[in-house]
Amino acid sequence: MVGLTKIRHKSGNWIKFESLISVKSINFDKNLKTGNMKIPAELKYTEDHEWIRVEGDSAIVGITDFAQGELGDVVFVEIETEGEELDKGETFGTVEAVKTVSDLFMPVDGVVSEVNEALADEPELVNKDPYGKGWMIKIKISDQSELENLLSAEDYKRMIEA
């Protein structure tokens, strides 16, 4: 994902504030409305709160409904890795909300084959339609076997509720 836990800023009053928007510190009992949150069963997920829709040897990647809710209003999605071959866990882009910056990580090894150009003018699509028009990149998967390490919808739900 979205390294909700990898917020970049340091020092000052807002640090504390910003770092507290990270997933780990959210008080789930009080803040998380799991009932309203969408976790489509047909998708795969990562611990970094990204979803992956596998289509043959390609996949579409975006961030989850939970992630967009935690980030708040997305105002800028910067992805400049089109055409690059990246390893799993490498940063393929950055998503900026009003108060936070988060890196976007490759869910599996692959080539970034396409970037969602619509996000340049309408970054708010990530909030409005995280699993649809708010998709971020398409990738060409290098090694299909890595898909087995991704989380199922059930696993992901359990992870964020834990």
Binding site: R8, G12, D73, K99
Partner: protein, 360 residues
């Protein structure tokens, strides 16, 4: 973690809560942008009960305030408030605050939540003249009702003629059937409106009454997230970001609250006078991004050759301008309005321009 009197109200309203200055506070409800525009266009309400309040009373009250405040309290008339700061004796700032003049021998200082303990110790350490001090931070709540419809909203709840309360003035009166509400024509948004101080036990009733009165205007609760974007669009300093113990009020552009008149002896007077007359080597300035990119606290400011000329102290995407805006201290030769500078954002160097504040 401390809770304000409205904690349950915020959670019921679906607020995202975070720890801020030791308090569990709402950071956003409907979304920062929505809340931001609610305040700019209509009316929004902030729970800012975490702020600190100190009474300064007795025959020596003015003597103490005169000594510790950068602004000149002797010019205040009863019912007036003033923005000011505590110089720290080393050329920096202990905190910025508001001082309210109720009557001779009675002042109220309103300080930042994160600095309550530090300020309380500081004020006491400077009180050799013997003013009576009382820290009432834990028993007073504060609501900021801000936006163009704030006056129409609150006027329904009080017989006090709110139109007659001039900017940076206040009245103590009845509101929503509650006695002794401090109704202050101040704020941290640039959108106009009032800040209301009440007793903790009256807070929920006041909040509820304000929301009922503002319903026709589309009133909404506003969190700390939009509080930051609203103040930054106005170029207002945030303690801990833009000003701190190492920045002088002159460098921060707070010369207008640093008054040398009436021969007033105050902490750091000579040093600040020297900075004012001899000049400073760096200056807090606002800048607007000329290309896509959002400046964030800590990012480096550089010149065209990549030389570091300062750092971002506050930055965000301005909801109104739809552009990145920020503030930071820059070397004097880069402080002229219109000067081109660059912000290092991740692996890129994005052009920006020094502009006059406010941004909007």
């Amino acid at each position: 973690m401390k809770l304000t009197a409205l904690n349950e109200v915020h959670k019921k309203a679906g607020a995202k809560m975070v720890e801020f200055a030791g308090y569990e506070m709402p950071v956003e409800y409907s979304g920062i942008k929505d809340e931001h525009f609610t305040v700019r266009d209509k009316v929004g309400v902030f729970d800012v009960s975490h702020m600190g309040e100190f009474w300064v009373k007795g025959p020596q009250a003015l003597e103490l305030v005169k000594k510790i405040s950068s602004n000149d309290p002797t010019i205040l008339r009863p019912g007036q408030a003033q923005y000011t700061c505590f110089p720290n004796g080393k050329g920096g700032i202990v905190d910025d605050f508001l001082v309210y003049f109720f009557e001779p021998e009675k002042y109220l200082m309103v300080v930042n939540a994160a600095n309550i303990e530090k300020d309380w110790e500081w004020v006491n350490s400077q009180n050799d003249c013997g003013a009576e001090l009382e820290n009432v931070s834990d028993s007073i709540s504060q609501l900021a009702v801000q936006g163009p419809n704030a006056l129409s909203t609150l006027q329904k709840l009080t017989d006090v003629n709110l139109n007659e309360i001039r900017f940076y003035s206040f009245v103590v009166g009845k509101m929503a059937g509650l006695d002794d509400i401090i109704i202050s024509a101040t704020g941290y948004t640039g959108a106009g409106g009032f800040e209301l101080y009440c007793k903790n036990e009256d807070t929920v009733k006041l909040w509820t009454a304000v929301f009922d009165a503002g319903e026709e205007f589309g009133i909404k609760p506003v969190g700390l997230g939009a509080r930051d974007t609203l103040r930054l669009e106005m170029g207002y300093c945030l303690y801990g970001n833009d000003i701190d113990d190492t920045t002088s009020p002159i460098e921060a552009g707070l010369g207008w609250i640093t008054k040398f008149n009436n021969d007033r002896r105050f902490i750091d007077r000579d040093f600040l006078m020297m900075q004012k007359t001899e000049g400073i080597s760096r200056r807090l300035r606002g800048f607007v991004m000329l290309e896509r990119g959002i400046p964030r606290q800590g990012y480096e400011l550089v010149d065209s050759s990549g030389l570091v000329i300062g750092k971002v102290t506050s930055g965000t995407q301005s909801p109104v301008l739809g552009k990145g805006i920020g503030m930071g201290y820059v070397a004097r030769e880069y402080s002229a309005f219109g000067t081109g500078i660059f912000v290092k954002i991740r692996n890129k160097t994005i052009p920006a321009e020094i502009v006059k504040l406010p941004f909007i």
